[in-house]
Structure formats: C-alpha cells, structure tokens
Symmetry: C3
Subunit: 274 residues, 3 copies
C-alpha cells in the first residue's frame, strides 16, 4: 500500500473548506491564545485577517475565567517559563472542563526536559487538536526526536505513523505540518499540500497555523474537518503570498493580506495547488 | 440637541495639529511604555515613526527610576499579569508624583475581574489621558460592558456620555476610539473622524494610538489639545495607509510609513477626511 | 594620527565576508536568543533571513540545557526583569562553560541601576562579543553615559577609545554601532560604513545586528572576523532596504528581504558603500 492509497488530498477551493471559512467569518470566533512571546503579534494579526477575534489573555489570574467563554483556546509552549506553564495548565483545564475546544502546539517538545514535562501535563487535559512539525509529533508519539530548536529535521510523511498512534492514544486530531500537511484522527488521513518552502523562513508561521486551526474548530463541530479546512486555507494563502513575495519579510506581510483576501469578493480564480 | 451640535470636528491639517506634530518632532519626547506583549514592537515602531523616542522599561526594579525622567508614560493592561501589575502601579505612582503625564489604556476592562481591579488601582494615580474603545469606556464609567475580548461591541458615540462623566470624575481627558474618535475633558467634546474600518483588523492599532497620545502630551501642556492632535495625526496616517493597502498586513506597514511621512516635506496635499 | 590612519574599512562584497556568509548558510547555526520582548519576532525573522536557525529559549529551567548545544548565544537586556536576569546569567554561565560563543547587547546600560548591575554580572561570564551604541559602550568603559533610553546621544567615533579599552579589559571583541560601525579587539579596528539613518527609526535594528553577529561567530573561529563580516552583511542589507523603502515600516520589511537576498544567486551587482 503506497502513501497515495492511504489518504486523500484536499485543497482550496473544495466546497466544505469554502463553507467553513464563510462560517468562521460569520461567527467571528473568540480565540483565546496563550502562546509564545515571539509570535504574539503575528498570531493576532493572522487571526484577525482570517476572520477571528484573538484574545491574548495570559495571566494565571485570568485564564480560568476566560477560556470557558472563548470559542477556542490555543496553547503554544514555544517560550514557556514556569509562570507561563501554570497559566497554560489552568487554561487547558478550564477549557476542557467547559467544553471549549483547544489546540496544543508542542513547540520543540522532546528537545528540552522542562517543556517536555509541561506538554505531558497538558496532554492530561485532552487537547482537541495537536499541531506540530514532524520532529515534535514523533517526540510526542514516543518515536524519538530529531528536532533542532524549533525546526524539524524530519519530513512530515515520516511522522505519519506516529501521528496516527498519537491521535489514537490521545483522542486528539493530529496535524503534522511540512511540505505536505497531514491531518489524522487515527484512522482517516487527509493530506493538504503545504505552504511554500520560503514560509519556513518566517518565524511563527507554524504557530500561526495552530491559531488558525483553533479558529476553525471554534465554529465547526467536526474537529477533523476543521483541521483540514484550516490547514487548506492557510496553505492557499501561503502559496499566494509566496508568489507575491521577494523574501521572507514581504512574505509575512503578504500572508496576512492573503488570509484576509482569500474567499472574499473578487477571489474568482483560486490558485490550484495540485 | 443633536450630536452634531455638541461637538466640533477637527482634522489634519488644522493649524494647531500641524504645530503640535512639528513640536513633537523637534522635542523627540522620551515615551516610557509599559504595554502588552502583543504590541510592543508595533508600538515602538509607531512612536519612532511619528517622531518620539520609545523606551519599553518594564521591570518593577526600573520603572520607578525611569518614569520621572521620561516625557510621558503609557500604561496598557492588555496582557497584564500579577508581576506586570506591580510594575504598572509603580510606574504610574512615580509618574504622578514627578508630574510626568501618563496615558492609561484599560484594554478589556470590565470583561475580566483581575484586570478590572488593576485598572481601578491605576485610576488612583490620576492618569492624564484615558484611551479606550466604547466598551472599555462604558465599563470604566460604570455603565456596563459589552466587550468581546479586546474588541468593542458598542459604537463610540454610545460611550459619549460615559466618557464625559468619566472625565469629570477622574480629571483625565478621555479619548474614545471608534468610527469617530471623541476626545472630552468632561465639558468640551471634539470628534475626529477615526481610521478606516480595516484598521480594526490590525492588532494593536488602538494600543498604538494610546502611545501616540502619550507622545503628544509629552510635548504639549494642554492635555485636551494633545489628545485631539494625536488622534488626528493617527487618523490621517491610518486613512492614507488604508488607501495604499490591500489587506491588514500591508496596512500595518503602511501605517508606520505614513506616521513617518505625514507633515514632512513633500506632504503637500493632505487628504481631507470630512 | 587621524582616525583614518587607525583603521581600515571593510564592506560587502569583500571576499572574506562573502565566504563567511556562505559558510553561515551552509552550517545554519542554531542561535540561542535571550532577548528583549520588543524585538523577539524581528530578531527571529532576521536570523532566519540571513541563514541561521533562531531559538528563543528563555526559561531559567531551560537555558542551561540549551546554551551548550547551541552554536551561539545572544543575551540582550533591553527589557530585563529580575526573572529574566536569572535566566540570562544562567545562559551566559552555561555558554561560557561549554565554549559556546556569546554576544552581549547591553541595551541602555548606565541609564538605569538595575540593568547596569545585571550587565556587570554578565561580564563575569566573558562575553565573546559586546555590541552596543556609543552611549552604551562609553558607559561600560566607565567613561560616562549620555544615553536617552535605548537611543545613543553620542557618535560611534567618540566611543572608539572606550571600545578599545573595554575590549582589552574584557577580552571581548567590541562592536560600536553608529553612522560607522567600529569593530575592535583592543588593537585592530575595522570600520564598516553603517546603515542608513532611517534604520534608527526601526525598533530593534541594533538588537537584530547583535543577533546577526551571534550567527556569524557561531560558524567562524575568528571572533574579530565574524564581527566584521556580520556588521558588513547587515549594513549592505540595510542600505539596500533603505533604498527601496518609503518609510520605517517598509524599511523593516525590506531589511528582512535583503538579508535573505544578499549574496544569493542573482545578487550580481552589490551596491558599493564607499
């Protein structure tokens, strides 16, 4: 059985993706983010552009009050400190208890002991979606990590088996980001042609995708479908942005523009990614 | 009595606004910012562009030494934690004691208990200007909040009475940001045609306006006039930027460019906003 | 003896600089950053663009494990708090012990007591490179500070003697940033025509240069040569970016683009800076 046989490809502008993006913009979900300090601004701008309402509420004194009223929560451990960890665990606990769907982005898990321990504790609060690169997913799946800081040294397809077992074990939908993004619930796998290679030169592009997945799962009961739609919208915006950019600086700007423009009036000729 | 009868409109390039901007660039005020972690970079770039010198000094060990030597202070509670709150209160206390004018940006006050309490304590140090959206100003005025995270659900004109009573009660000039920005000292009200709607898709645009008001009040004895001038300069830059942008990513970049370009040589044909 | 007689000028595309940039991109050094919260995003994007792999690991629980495996470390005290100071000292200690070269960026040292004390403690861990503006270098050299927040009030050439004595005393290579950047090991001095004046309106441009120096020293045994090459690459990218930009917003974007583009295929006609 080849990889090709095990999953289907989905790309913008498939009908369900367009429908999910339209719903997101109608509902304007409130996305509670406890994310790393490198990407807060970029993440907020990405969420606003796609049609969500970001709220970076990070104090341990506030997260327990806020996560239950948000439509979705994102927890990203990229620059986690002990104080942050307390807030993340409280946010995840409150989200899980209140039924707020939440996305875990386990940046560089496996590479450093402290965050690896924090991530293991976060898993106890049942993330709805886990998004990571291949190295991170392999580390979480217990298949060893080859990460180099926040950058993956493995290809996303190598992490497919690990992603499936991680999904089965945790009950989360797992999204592995790479040249192709794979989304799996343990059984089904959908591949989304990932973003242009240049996007790996924009810090926080993966983290921003995690936030976009949170936005989609905040307005869509099917977690699997939300993760596929969010990945596809991000990928098409990334592809269009890479087409416009001459380097990573202009790419980051264009990505935010295209996340805003995609699917709006005038978007008559979506680029085909296949 | 209609709204139109209760206040005057002021826009760039009214003479007093041009004069205040010129003075700001001559004096290059040192603006001490204790702001939220989402907007630090954007705020610093906005201040540099308009002609001020930003200083993000945030440690409780340092703010008391710095606020007295700064020309103005900005306190923004967007991502306030317990540690931040201590620094904010110390900065506000020191500024108030030393006569350094200071701007309070009470992000999402009323929506979350912890920050609402912090903001109430900050009010005890007599902010010179309070800048917020309609929901925040209404919450502070004790007229209930309808905020959704950091985004207002009320129109700025709805908060006009609340703004007036808040100004009267606190002695601060109050600036309500929205489709029209209103500035009031409790008696007089000036309306400034606000920025383009797309600017609400740029995270921290309101926070950056708060910083700009601090820069203007750092070089201008009339607090009311400073708040009007700062709002008008920000609005014209925002309008020009929106004209150039194709989405929120390029808008944020263009806003910084236009805050730098406005009123400089070659700026012969200011856009009329009315 | 005139200044001109005491040092040589080096600019892109001198052969050694091109060689160092090529090596950097081949080796993709892992640069551990403990920097200020204003510039984290910009610094990470600058490092990715030039060809390095940034890792913003900031928790005191993690820095001691990470600095030894990184190729270089950057410590920047721009927004240092007591908690940050603990992490910075631990990172510097671990780097020094493991032989990881590290860059100290003593933002606003001399202007505020707390950070001045932190910087003095950091010096005990033997930074490989110290990068600062003239005011900061003068303050460290014990020749008094005239800083205004993070901005220098002195010219880089005024700090040349101070830089030399600081280098001799600490054993670090000292880079003074200004209209001309000077790099010295206490004996030799090389001047690099610095970046366009407009770059002083982009927050964190100096901080980003410090990160670039860390990237270069991570792949080059000669610390002095690494500091010269890094300064020259940053300067040429800054000059090209200033040529393209219409204000500080577009300048920041173009700088990241040009740090990516410089020296790549198609870069046939490097601008001469002399």
């Amino acid at each position: 059985m080849t990889l090709k046989e095990t999953f289907t490809h989905t790309t913008w502008p498939d009908a369900s993706i367009v429908e999910d993006l339209t719903r997101l913009r109608q509902k304007n979900p409130l996305v509670h983010c406890v994310t790393n300090l490198v990407v807060t601004n970029f993440t907020a701008n990405v969420l606003l552009a796609v049609g969500a309402s970001p709220a970076m509420v990070v104090a341990v004194e506030e997260v327990g009050q806020f996560a239950p009223v948000a439509d979705a929560l994102l927890v990203n451990v990229g620059t986690v400190t002990a104080i942050d960890a307390g807030a993340m665990l409280e946010a995840a606990r409150a989200a899980n208890q209140a039924g707020t769907p939440w996305v875990l982005d386990p940046v560089a898990v496996g590479a450093l002991s402290f965050r690896t321990d924090v991530v293991q504790q976060l898993l106890g609060h049942h993330p709805t979606i886990i998004r990571g690169n291949a190295s991170e997913i392999l580390a979480l799946a217990g298949e060893g990590s080859k990460s180099k800081g926040a950058d993956s040294t493995a290809d996303s397809s190598e992490a497919l088996d690990g992603a499936r077992s991680l999904a089965t074990r945790t009950g989360a939908v797992v999204a592995v980001t790479g040249v192709v993004d794979y989304v799996t619930d343990g059984n089904e796998v959908v591949g989304v042609p990932g973003s242009h290679e240049l996007l790996t030169k924009v810090t926080g592009s993966g983290c921003a995708l995690g936030a976009v997945l949170a936005a989609f799962v905040g307005v869509q009961d099917s977690v699997f479908r939300a993760a596929v739609s969010g990945s596809a919208v991000f990928a098409i915006a990334g592809e269009r942005a890479a087409h416009d950019a001459r380097g990573p600086g202009s790419l980051a700007v264009a990505l935010v523009d295209h996340l805003y423009l995609v699917g709006r009036e005038g978007d008559e000729a979506p680029v085909s990614s296949t």
